[in-house]
């Protein structure tokens, strides 16, 4: 039945929206839906062939109806594919904004230069989302990271990926959750300037105490 496969993709996308991690890319399903579109297109061409470009819908309503259904099915499949891929890129973009190293960029850490985290972090690896990407998605993440870095570069003093919570206190107490190597800030060790350690909190090394 036309559209069944597309429906599965949409269900996958819907499921992805509510998950914390990114489920594996459905290579087979994507290929099958794409194949369906190509087959439908061939059917349309075959149906139209005997008419030599002079087809009038009113003359043969059965053929006209088949053509319409095929057309709509193709467009629907396209939308399903777009929705599926867009849901995933959306999620990937969010991870990039949060500063996670989605694809292991060989030590090229997306981070705040003022804090030396001591070794590249790879939070996204923890839930295995890296292996769940398609090669195209890996490319996309890499390119999007570059794009974001370029845009951020226009606003170096603001730290665009910083916290979106309104700042309250200049200094905060933190608890260390994981070894992060040596960290140098201007003031003390556990009572630190919030702007200096935001990245470490986001990456799970430190916990903010209120």
């Amino acid at each position: 039945m036309h559209g069944d496969l597309g429906n599965k993709l949409v269900q996958q996308a819907k499921r992805t929206q509510n998950l914390a991690h990114l489920p594996p890319y459905q290579t087979e399903l994507v290929r099958a839906v794409t194949r369906e579109v190509r087959d439908l297109d061939k059917d349309v061409a075959a149906l139209l062939e005997p008419f030599q470009g002079s087809f009038h819908p009113t003359d043969d309503q059965a053929v006209a109806c088949t053509l319409l259904v095929n057309h709509l099915s193709m467009r629907r499949n396209k939308r399903c594919l777009l929705a599926y891929h867009h849901t995933r890129t959306d999620k990937l973009e969010k991870l990039v904004w949060k500063g996670y190293d989605v694809v292991d960029l060989a030590g090229q850490q997306v981070g705040d230069g003022s804090v030396n985290a001591g070794g590249a972090s790879n939070v996204a690896n923890g839930d295995g989302s890296m292996n769940n990407l398609s090669p195209q998605e890996e490319d996309y993440v890499r390119q999007y990271s570059d794009l974001l870095a370029a845009y951020k570069g226009q606003w170096t003093d603001i730290d665009l990926t910083g916290s979106l919570e309104p700042p309250r206190d200049l200094f905060i107490d933190v608890r260390v959750l994981k070894d992060a190597g040596e960290i140098q800030t201007e003031y003390g060790q556990f009572y630190v300037r919030q702007g200096d350690v935001e990245r470490l909190i986001a990456q799970g090394y430190l916990q903010k105490l209120s």
Binding site: V37, K78, Q154, D157, I158
Partner: protein, 221 residues
């Protein structure tokens, strides 16, 4: 006294306040408006962000100079300056992020006409164009290139349904009138007209509020 009171007390056109303070007010207004309106608003053309950026730079330098000083008095001033600096940075960051979020959501819509493009800053235009190109490439390499050529576009409008998603301009917004003016609002069952007074707070559709906001007779809150 909160930020709204401060905003209401000062007329945006007033010249008696120092330029720095006026810029902060303009920034706060832009931030509030951008966050509450469903559509991307025009990027301030008067160089507001260049000025704000320069001042943030100056203050960062100042903080660095003062840090070496051990005098307790300087230390206190330092904390005040740094706190204010963090707030400034937050305003700019939050404003830019609100815009990027809108641009990302409806990229093709904002890139589709010169009129729309004019709302974006140059950097935002570059970002949006590149982002859209990346996405299209990603779709192409993932599945779209295997499609029949006629179906490879991302801006079809076959069957009267455009593929380009647009912001919902009928979303409700709150506005505050800055001048007495006639407010017209369209409703589902009937339209309404009211005589608005300066300071009135009204909830209505963004499509109805937009002319008032654009002409400076009201502001989004």
């Amino acid at each position: 006294m909160d930020i709204d009171d401060i905003l209401r007390e000062v007329d945006p056109a007033s010249q008696s306040i120092p330029a720095e303070t006026r810029d902060l007010q303009a920034l706060t207004r832009a931030w509030v408006a951008e966050r509450s309106s469903p559509e991307l608003l025009r990027w301030p053309a008067d160089g507001l962000f260049e000025r704000v950026n320069d001042r943030i730079k100056q203050q960062i330098e100042r903080v660095e100079e003062m840090t070496g000083d051990m005098d307790p008095k300087t230390n206190f001033a330092l904390i005040v300056i740094q706190t204010e600096l963090e707030r400034f940075k937050y305003l700019v960051r939050s404003y830019l992020r609100a815009r990027i979020a809108k641009i990302d959501q409806h990229t093709l819509h904002y890139l589709s006409s010169p009129d729309m493009r004019a709302r974006l800053s140059e950097t935002e235009q570059a970002y949006a164009t590149r982002h859209q190109a990346l996405l299209h490439n990603h779709y192409l390499s993932s599945f779209l290139s295997a499609f029949p050529p006629a179906l490879q576009n991302l801006n079809d409008s076959a069957g009267n349904i455009s593929m380009i998603d647009t912001p919902d301009t009928d979303t409700a917004v709150f506005i505050r009138l800055l001048k007495d003016s006639l407010v017209e609002g369209r409703g589902t069952d009937g339209d309404g007209i009211m005589d608005g007074k300066n300071g009135d707070i009204i909830i209505l559709r963004w499509s109805d509020a937009k002319p008032l906001v654009d002409s400076g007779r009201a502001e989004v809150i």
